[in-house]
Amino acid sequence: MSQKVYITGLGMISAIGNNVPECFLSLSQSKTGIGKIQYLTTRYKDEFLAGEIKLSNAELADLVGDQNPALNRNSYIAMLAAKEAVLNSGIDTKDGLRTGVISSTTVAGMSKTELYYKDLFKNDEHLDVLDTHDCGDSTERIADYIGNVDYVTTISTACSSAANAIMLGCRMIKHGHLDRVVVGGVDALSKFTFNGFNTLMILDREWCRPFDENRKGLNLGEGAAFVVIEGENALNHRKGKALAELIGYANTNDAYHLTASSPEGFGATLAIQQALALSGLKPTDIDYINMHGTGTPNNDLSESKATVAVFGNQVPKFSSTKAFTGHTLAAAASIEAVISVLSLQNSMIFPNLNFNTPIAETGLIPETTLVHTPLNVILSNSFGFGGNCSSLLFKKA
């Protein structure tokens, strides 16, 4: 049988904090990071809210300790979160075991490309964006920042990206290709994504209200989160400590529409069912669900229906933490993986903020205050454009 895979290190930077302890503090104090737009250049900065990281690019460069002008916001935050995860795990990448970096991003270097694209045709000053625009750039920068990395790849499956990075890392360990992998996702806020979601008319001008009958849409956020996952052999070898076990995962496709989820949540239902099947657990074994819960009318209804389809009238406690961080796209699933591990470690369910009225059709009510309760298994969902549906299962170590 293939070996068990454990999460052994956490790293995260987002609207609610520049590192895991800061994020944990905001979560346990029900303090959202979503507010007035301060850093993104957009004509809509006074009309919409966003979950921005509260640091300028210059401040991020100082934190990273690298003034290389080719670095962009995506790379800065990816490097910071990945390094935090590595330090937290205590792994030594020079010890001869095989280390991988599997990252994910949707718009990669766009936050910088969009600032200079027109200038590129006029002068030569920022032509380096040609080399840093693509998705692979931040992944290779993480790998070089950590050092001694044997394997790199990058995934882009819209808003489920990081869940797929986590899943792939786990599979590569189980197949014996790698001993440990730094997995996660990153997306810096850009005018490109902001306007994209705005044209789709799924941005709420107020704080987003996941699973509320009167929800109007999502708030965009930015962030990066990485976790170190290790096979049990490698972990035992270095006598390291596991924070949680990754016991199930699944990737399915809704195959309904390029952006919208099917009304009945077919792909989501399949993902949850297949993740459960892989773990050998029953629906009743799930103690809490960290929902995708973006706050859009379409997602939350579709996800609610999928939840009912799997759990019937025994729906576990659930919440969406997107009202803390905003929807961080490719980073969302790894941010929520970090939050899930924090929940397991601290026996805490973080609240679904801004909820008032249940969705009439399903009547599901999320946890709206901080709940202290022993948690053994957590399900985390992530869904994205292109019908991508991914579910992960974390177990207390």
Partner: protein, 367 residues
């Protein structure tokens, strides 16, 4: 921790194989025609090597076609051809790779934002700008609810799809569609030209002997229906694939190559052809150049980027080429670096490099 202890953690066998049961390839050559075998080879006009695109209405419904960007069209068409050739109705997974994704749609949406100060925008190009659009579109057309992944890592984008497929076969999947897609826009080409990334190759100078800087950027899409089981229509077999991130020097590459081949209980001398990813750039090709004599000692060396140009997923074209070489039992002269051509071809090894950062080995064999 030494190599021996390290080996303890590595799985000693890597037996999953993938049978190639169908291929579809759009490239700067006439590869869309299944009978084409390097008989008439186009040269690039200037410094960019444009793909020859088919009449898409033969492969894609008109209502879908109207909105699609070129990357989506190339990917869906090449995927469609591969599926038709394999004679399958559906697949258990769709895994695509692309370095830049749907760049045309991304650029269109970006320019609309910049030109109109974020006003009067429509969502179509934003929706289609997502890197996983090709894989999603194929899933939508085929109603495939199964595994769907998109890899976007530079010169590893396509390699990652094959690695994933080999694992998926071990996990019980039977039929998988994999493919690599790349498109570039006139503006992107113009900017790369401005950044001095290109060269105009001298027609008589073989790509592996180039002494200039710059590549011939290109584009295309190659798709493969892979199967865990050999069937009557199996064309070739993928024995294994390995990526190598920033190897130190050519000795490092050679050492890893020996390890890769020995994990398949083979040596370099078992290879009948080694297709090498010379790009024409003096610096990027340096390590492959040092490696070439070592390769030629044991087997027949060949090139492929003189025919397909350089792009993130050029290995997909190389894999299509390897499949054809095995099928025809012949190394086309235009690809041959070594003077001595092989008489029978069982193993084709692809050694690729991308910008001297992303290296990979792919082993394709007769089945």
């Amino acid at each position: 921790m030494g190599e021996t202890a390290r080996h303890y953690y590595l799985r000693k066998h890597n037996l999953a194989k993938a049978y190639i049961n169908g291929t579809g390839c759009i490239s700067p050559q006439n590869s869309i025609d299944s009978d084409w075998f390097f008989d008439e080879v186009h040269s690039p006009k200037g410094d960019y090597f444009e793909a020859i695109e088919p009449s898409y209405k033969d492969f894609i419904a008109p209502n879908l076609l109207r909105r699609m960007g070129r990357a989506i069209k190339m990917g869906v068409a090449a995927g469609n051809i591969a599926i038709q050739q394999a004679g399958v109705k559906n697949v258990d997974a769709i895994v695509t790779g692309t370095g830049l994704g749907c760049f045309e749609d991304s650029e269109r949406f970006l320019l609309a934002i910049l030109d109109n100060d974020e006003q009067f925008l429509t969502p179509t190009s934003f929706i289609q700008s997502t890197h996983n659009t090709v894989g999603s579109q194929i899933a939508l057309i085929m109603k495939c609810h199964d595994y769907n992944f998109t890899y976007v890592h530079r010169g590893f984008s396509f390699e990652s799809t094959v690695q994933d497929a080999l694992m998926l076969f071990d996990e019980g999947k039977d039929t998988i569609l994999v493919g690599g897609i790349e498109e570039h826009t006139p503006n992107y080409i113009l900017l790369n030209r401005k950044a001095n990334k290109f060269q105009v190759r001298e027609p008589d100078m073989p790509i592996w002997m180039s002494e200039k800087r710059g590549i011939q950027m290109s584009e295309g899409a190659a798709f493969f229906v892979l199967s865990r089981n050999k069937t009557q229509s199996s064309l070739a077999c993928i024995n294994g694939i390995q990526t190598l991130y920033k190897p130190k020097n050519s000795e490092d590459i050679l050492k890893k190559l020996h390890m890769f081949l020995s994990s398949h209980r083979l040596t370099l001398s078992d290879m009948d052809v080694a297709l090498m990813g010379f790009s024409g750039d003096l610096i990027f090709d340096e390590k492959l150049k040092s490696l070439l004599p070592e390769i030629e000692k044991e087997t027949t060396a060949g090139a492929f980027k003189n025919v397909c140009g350089e792009y993130h997923t050029a290995t997909a074209f190389a894999m299509w080429t390897a499949t054809k070489i095995i099928e025809r039992q012949q190394l086309p002269k235009v690809l041959a670096i070594s003077a001595k051509l092989p008489s029978k071809i069982k193993y084709v090894l692809i050694i690729n490099q991308y910008l001297d950062i992303n290296y990979s080995f792919t082993l394709v064999s007769q089945c």
